[in-house]
């Protein structure tokens, strides 16, 4: 899974968001490192919708502009949880190996 996709799903994990909301959430989650652009976001959303990981939650018009809300589907929640567990396992393995004196690092 690409990082942008992972972050988009993460932004939706605690509730529906609209496009601009996802961009600000992703910036927050990544501590400002990932600035999602509109083209990337909507190409990813298009794909995620057709893969059944994300669905449209509702629409509203704010100041004459369309706002569409997206949410995770049960399948999307499952896929995100599996990916998060995988990344966590990798990170844990890296941290263990980096700890000096453990796991036979310094002989």
């Amino acid at each position: 899974m690409q990082e942008a996709t992972f972050l988009i799903l993460t932004a939706l994990a605690d509730g529906p968001q609209h496009g601009y909301g996802i961009i600000t959430e992703v910036a927050q989650i990544s501590v400002g490192r990932v600035k999602l652009r509109a083209g990337t976001l909507y190409t990813a959303l298009d794909r995620l919708r057709s893969d059944g990981l994300v669905s449209v939650d509702g629409e509203e018009v704010v100041e004459g502009r369309l706002r569409r809300y997206y949410r995770l589907t049960p399948e999307g929640t499952k896929v995100l949880a599996a990916e998060a567990a995988r990344l966590q396992a990798n990170a844990a393995a890296a941290l263990i190996r980096l700890r000096p004196g453990l796991a036979g690092g310094v002989a």
Binding site: G19, Y20, A38, T40, Y42, T43, R65, L66
Partner: protein, 211 residues
Amino acid sequence: MSEMTALERGYRRVLALYPRSFRAHSEDEILAVLLATAEEGQTRVGLAEAWDLVRGAMRMRLWPAAPRPRVVRAAVKLMLAGAAAELAAVVTVVVTSGAVRAAVAARYPADVHSVMVHQVAVLAAAPVAIGMWLWLAWANGRGEDWARMISAACFGLLTLSVLSSLSEHAATDAPASMIAAGIVWAIGLASLALVFTPAAGRYYRPQLAQQ
């Protein structure tokens, strides 16, 4: 206000590159996001955001979103790798051409001319072969059923050409080229096996899968 409209017009011009169905559903929505993320006082579409939009449009047009099974995605990647391997194979032929001719001249002096003809033919056919790999990667990714068939036919031709090279002592006279051709062949075999798996079959022929 007129600043805003100029920027909006600029965004709409780039968004016009997207497929019609996508625009009908999402153009106003994306536009709102673009305007919300624009810098204060921005009047023109920035280079980076324009490129990001163009890239998105290209992706959507080349490979419309469809639940693509993992085997098909893997097959497409393999076919792209096939194009790269083909390029590497041609470079190998060029780089080793002198050594191969020398090896042939030492053992079968009469065949040097035909080896040269063969090398030129490989060079001439390379752009076509690379183009075929890319075209088939694209068409298979879209789930075109004919693309599977053409892939199979191309693999047949590839197999024949590898066999004919083998029968011409290429393995002993041009080992590097033969290894490169073998890699290209293996990639072809693997990608073909993937597109003919049952999971891929349901993607290529959804009407049959529903019955």
